[in-house]
Every structure is written in C-alpha cells, then in structure tokens.
C-alpha cells in the first residue's frame, strides 16, 4: 500500500503526470479503438438475436456499458473531489473537472439508448420507474457539478464547490444500483453482476464485456486528454501573464 501511495504521489505531480500520460495516451487510445471495433463486430454480427427481444437486444451492448460508465465516472468524480478537498491537490480537481462531462454524456447515452429500446419493448419511450428516474437524477447531478465548476470567479472555488456537490450526490449511487432490487419496477433486475454468477448466456456476455472494456478504455483516453488540456490551458494562461502564478495552483508541484 505504501508503495502504491508513493507511486501515486509521484505520478500526481503535474510535470510527471504530463510526461507519463503523454507516453500512455496513444496506446490507450489505440487499444480503445481496436476493442471498440471488435466489440461492435461481436455486438452487431457475431452474437445471436434474443428469443424475446429479437434484434433490439443489440441496443443493450451500448446501453449497459453506458450505464456502468455513468455510475463509475460519477464515483470517480466524487472520489477525486474528496482527494482534492482533503489533500488539497490541484491535479485531483482538474481530473474531476475533466471527467464530469464525459460521465454526463455516458449517462445521457444510457437514457437515450434505453428510450430507443423501451419504445418497441415496453411500448413507451419513458416510464417513471425507480431505475430510470434515479438515472435521470444522476444526469441532473452531473449538470450541477459541471455548471458549478465554472460558476465562480476563481477556478479553485468552483472546483471545491463542485467537489462538495459530487460527494453529497453520491447518496444517489446506491439508490440507482439497488433500485431494481428494492422496488418492483419495470426495469429488469441485474443479470450480470449478481450472486451466483451471471444469468446471461456466454454468446451475449462476450460482446457485452468487450463493449464495457472498450467504453472504459475510451473513457480513460478521453479523460487523460481532457485533463492534459486543462493543465496546458492553465500553463498558457500563466505564460500569457493574465493571471499571477499563485492563482494557477495546478502548476505547482506539491512537495
């Protein structure tokens, strides 16, 4: 644990971060694109249609990974915000700010694909069931976090305020996860992550997991890119002399 902590601390120095992320980014991006191609092939061609849902089941290969990512990224944003608030590390705030819009897009993608699937399957674009409603609330929380980041005159204040909101909003995550178990809702209960192993057939599990992995790597690539952009933008602003260096905390390497 100590070793991991020290490694993390070293990587989290902005100058180190720029070096290491610059080296890894092309590989992660390439891997994400490759996996996505394989995943799309498996989802669209190399997997069977469902006996009940027919071809519509293929929407699930986008819908489910998006939902997972929506939740994962929110937890990540909150965790980074917590690290930033406790440790005062500027890079954590920048990483949280960079991740939030990507998570919001995943959440929106989940809701949109869900609606496209729901119309032929349930006969309605939208139902006010517990899972759907709590996911919609997650999207609103993302909006709050994103807007809050830019709502103040100083960058740091906005990032801290957004971190507090992200942490408070974490209450929603278990509600989303367990909504299908706690309430008797239209949305089906989970069939992959549950006790006793997945109840989904291997031929459908493979494309699902491929897509999930591709989405996760894709997120990491975008996230690194956006964080790097934020660091570079702060550097540019400081270099142009529009701000004094003390208001650009991201440029200071912590001791």
């Amino acid at each position: 644990m100590v070793v991991i902590g020290q490694t993390l601390k070293r990587v989290a120095q902005p100058s180190h971060f720029m070096q290491i992320s610059g080296r890894w980014l092309p590989w992660i991006s390439a891997l994400a694109v490759g996996l996505l191609a394989v995943g799309v092939y498996f989802s669209l061609f190399a997997s069977p249609a469902d006996y009940q849902q027919g071809e519509s089941v293929r929407i699930m290969y986008v819908h489910v990974p998006s939902a997972w990512m929506g939740l994962f990224v929110y937890a990540l944003v909150a965790a980074l915000g917590g690290i930033g608030l406790i440790g005062g590390h500027p890079l954590a705030f920048a990483a949280a700010r960079a991740a939030a819009p990507i998570g919001a897009v995943f959440t929106a993608l989940c809701l949109i694909t869900g609606a496209l699937w729901g119309k032929p399957m349930w006969g309605a674009w939208w139902v006010w069931d517990a899972r759907l409603t709590s996911m919609l609330l997650l999207l609103f929380l993302y909006f709050g976090v994103i807007v809050l980041n830019d709502a103040f005159d100083t960058v740091r204040r906005g990032e801290k305020a957004a971190a507090v909101l992200a942490l408070v909003g974490c209450i929603n995550l278990p509600i989303i996860k367990f909504s299908v178990d706690w309430w008797n809702t239209l949305h089906q209960p989970s069939s992959v992550m549950k006790l006793g192993g997945p109840s989904i057939d291997g031929s459908m599990l493979v494309p699902l997991l491929l897509m999930a992995l591709a989405f996760k790597l894709g997120f990491f690539a975008l996230w690194l890119m956006r964080t790097r952009t934020l660091v570079l933008a702060a550097k540019t602003r400081a270099a142009q002399g529009r701000m004094d260096v003390s208001s650009v905390p991201i440029l200071e390497d912590a001791q």
């Binding site: 609103f140 929380l141 709502a151 942490l167 408070v168 209450i171």
Partner: protein, 221 residues
C-alpha cells in the same frame, strides 16, 4: 451553547423584522397552488386526486425560493467570517441556520398546507397524513437547501444553480411525501413512507451540516 441560541434568536429576529422574506415565500406557495385549478379546471375529483403532488411540489419550489438569502447577507457584510472564526464548530452553526430557516419557512408552509388542501378538495382523512408528511419532510428540504446555499455562495446565477443542485437531491422527499398522502387516500397504511421520511430527516441532520460546513469553509477562504 450560548453562541448557538444567540445565533438562532438573531436569525429568527432578522427573518421576522425583515417582514418580507417569509411572507413572500408563503405568498408564492398560495399563488402557485392556486394556479393549478385555473390551468386544469375546477373538477373536484381530479383536483383531489392530484392535490398531494401539487402541494408537495409547490412546497418544495417555495422553499427553494428562500435559500439564496440564508448566507447572502452574512457573507456580504462579513459576519459570516466572524461566525466561522469563533469557537462554535461550523457544523453547529449551519445546523442552527437550518433550524432557523425551518422555523421561519418550513413551519409556516406546514400550517398553510391544510388550507390549500381544502381548496383542492383533499379528503379530510388524508389531512393528518399531509401535515405529518410535511412536518417530517420540510426539515430535509431546509437542510438540503442550506447545503445548496453554502455551495453556491458567491456564484454567478446562484439562484438557478441552487435549484439545479437541490431539486435532484430533494426528489426522494417529494416521492415519499406525496406518496404517503396518496396511500392514505387509497385506504392504505402510510406508516412506511412516513417512517422513511423521518429516517431521511434524521440522516440529513447528520450529513447535511458536515457538507454545508465544508462548503462554507471554501467560500470564506
């Protein structure tokens, strides 16, 4: 303790002598509820059916109007810095502020709700549940609103921002609050929903002051 009771008395006095603050919130509550029969027609069955939802949703929106003034004046004239540099923990200060807000906004809303419920033809047997659910639920709204007010203190477009933050967090309160009244109307026991509201209320007393105090520390930094 002296500091807390002094702060509570100060906030209550300010709210009462300001004269306008609490009354505008109540006025908005009445007008907003009265808009619904105008919009959807005066049919008693229909109004009674949607009365719990209307009253709860409008109580939420009315409360929302009152939050941006909770810290604003103290922030601008510097008394917030003084309060936070004192010996009383910020969490307790925030809790006191929330209590003062609930006493001046939540309690009047609860008192006014039965009158509006009569206007909407809510059945008499559901009246007790309505008041109970509002009594248990409005403290949560005050506490969440205090968190939102602390986070958005000094922000551009603070009022809209506050709504975006607080509405998603307050959604469960709305669901269980109006749900309890509807259960009574359909002849079911509403205990479960009321107990959940009570539980969330107690949980909010613990969690919200911590979050709001953390946000306040950032605001006066």
């Amino acid at each position: 303790m002296i500091g807390i009771s002094a702060l509570l008395r100060r906030d209550l006095r300010l709210a009462l002598r300001d004269g306008i603050g609490p009354w505008t919130v109540l006025g908005f509550f009445v007008i907003a509820v009265a808009v619904f029969p105008l919009g959807i027609g005066p049919e008693p069955q229909l109004l009674a059916r949607i009365a719990p939802g209307i009253i709860w949703a409008m109580a939420l929106l009315s409360a929302l109007l009152s939050f941006d003034s909770v810290f604003e004046a103290d922030y601008r004239d510097g008394s917030l810095d003084l309060l936070l540099s004192g010996r009383t923990p910020p969490e307790l200060l925030v809790l006191t502020k929330a209590l003062a807000h609930w006493l001046t906004t939540g309690v009047p809303l609860v008192c006014l709700a039965p009158v509006l419920a009569v206007l909407l033809h809510l059945p008499a047997e559901a009246m007790v549940t309505l008041v109970m659910s509002l009594l248990l639920g409005t403290p949560i709204l005050s506490l969440l609103g205090i968190v939102g007010a602390a986070i958005s203190l000094g922000a551009r477009h603070g009022t809209v921002l506050l709504a975006i933050m607080v509405l998603p967090l307050a959604a469960p309160v709305l669901i269980f609050g109006s749900g309890a009244v509807e259960m009574t109307m359909t002849g079911l026991a509403s205990d479960a929903s009321l107990l959940i509201l009570g539980g969330v209320s107690l949980g909010a007393v613990v969690v919200c002051p911590i979050a709001a105090a953390a946000a306040l520390r950032q605001a006066v930094e």
